[in-house]
Every structure is written in structure tokens, then in C-alpha cells.
């Protein structure tokens, strides 16, 4: 499976003392598998808002995101809309 992502971060400055970034993304994937499915399976535009707090021990972050998958029905992939929130730590 091959994945491709194009993104562009837009720094929004400080929100509540945290570094805010808005990032539109465009993802795509192509598949070739045992079942004979090959080709582009989905194109997924999305957007995320990330709030980051850099520290000496790494960066803590909170994220809200939304995505819509345009699935290739000929490959058995459906359209889906996703959104959610998350958080993590990168060091």
C-alpha cells in the first residue's frame, strides 16, 4: 500500500498560551493486494487544529481534526466522514 500526504501548516499564534496551528491535508492511498485489488482506493482531504506546549521534555499537544474519505467504490471503499479529538506527547 502506498500513501501520499500533502499538507500546509498555518501558524495561528498563541491560544491560551499554547502554539496553535491549522493544517489542511490531502491524503491518498493506492493498494495492490492478494485479492486483486489495485489502484487508488481513496482520497481524503482533512483539516486539523493543533495546540502545542513545548517543554524541555518534549512537546505535549492537543488536536481536533476532521476528514472526509472519498472512497473508490470500484475498489470496495466507501465514503466516510470522521472527526475527533486527541492528544499526545512527542519527544
Amino acid at each position: 500500500m502506498l500513501h501520499g500526504t500533502v499538507s500546509r501548516p498555518f501558524p495561528l499564534g498563541k491560544i491560551g498560551g499554547l502554539d496553535a496551528t491549522l493544517t489542511p491535508t490531502l491524503q491518498g492511498a493506492a493498494l495492490r493486494n492478494y485479492f486483486g485489488v489495485s489502484g487508488v482506493t481513496q482520497i481524503t482531504p482533512g483539516i486539523s487544529l493543533k495546540l502545542e506546549k513545548p517543554t524541555k521534555n518534549g512537546t505535549f499537544f492537543l488536536e481536533a481534526f476532521g476528514k472526509h474519505q472519498f472512497g473508490n467504490e470500484k475498489k470496495g471503499m466507501e465514503d466516510h466522514t470522521y472527526w475527533g479529538v486527541g492528544g499526545g506527547w512527542a519527544f
Partner: protein
């Protein structure tokens, strides 16, 4: 004499233990500088939303990711709920320039649910290109 407890580990538990062991062994055990070690721990929740855009399942599904990177190589484990899935993979990462990076490596996709039509486990080679606009 102690009592030896027998407890069968699930594949998920084995995967997390493998990754934890890998992270702990990488820098110190090899005498390599730990400053080269980078990691990511991430969890997110999201409702499942239908193709029409309406929420069809109000139960939030959680996704967790743990990854560790040393130099150009990284290992990761990712799991999601509904549908249940656990992926464990290795990657070789390469940065072509400031904007373009790529990766490739093997991954094992595991579907714990017995009713998954894709089977219970798949092995695949994955690769990707990420391009970030200035």
C-alpha cells in the same frame, strides 16, 4: 520456591511488550547516544460517522499510537476500536529535503474480530510520501 503463574498473553499484549522492549533496549543497550531517540505517544477519540454525515454510533472509538524512532528507523504500534484493529510495523524513514520525506516498511495488520471479512491477520509492505508546503 515460588509459584509460577501461567498466563497466556494476547497478541496485543505481546505487541506492546515488544515495542516497549525495543524502546528500552535501543539506545542504552547498544551504547548509542540517547539523544537520537525520539518517540510519540498519541491517543484520540472519534465517533463513527456515516457516509451521509450523520452519527450512527454515539459510542466513541479510541485510537492509540506509540512509536519510537532511532535514526532513520522507527517502530510503531497502532490500535483502534470499532472496528478492532492492531497494526505493528517497522519503517525506514528518509528526508529528501525540508519539505519532502518518505518511508517504507513491513506492517502486520491484525483484526481481532472473528467476523471481519478481511481475515484475522495480514502482512503488507507499506510506503508513503509526505510533502509539506512552505
Amino acid at each position: 520456591m515460588g509459584i509460577r503463574m501461567k498466563r497466556k498473553q494476547t497478541l496485543k499484549q505481546k505487541a506492546w511488550l515488544f515495542l516497549a522492549g525495543l524502546v528500552s533496549l535501543l539506545p542504552g543497550g547498544c551504547g548509542l547516544p540517547s539523544s537520537e531517540l525520539h518517540g510519540l505517544v498519541k491517543t484520540s477519540v472519534q465517533p463513527y460517522v456515516s457516509k451521509a454525515g450523520f452519527i450512527v454510533n454515539k459510542k466513541l472509538k479510541r485510537q492509540d499510537l506509540v512509536s519510537a524512532r532511532y535514526g532513520n528507523f522507527s517502530a510503531y504500534a497502532w490500535q483502534s476500536q470499532e472496528p478492532r484493529e492492531l497494526d505493528v510495523g517497522l519503517r525506514y524513514n528518509h528526508e529528501f529535503n525540508e519539505r519532502l520525506s518518505g518511508w517504507a516498511g513491513p506492517v502486520v495488520w491484525t483484526y481481532p474480530g472473528k467476523d471481519n471479512p478481511l481475515g484475522t491477520r495480514d502482512v503488507a509492505l507499506e510506503g508513503g510520501l509526505n510533502w509539506q508546503a512552505p
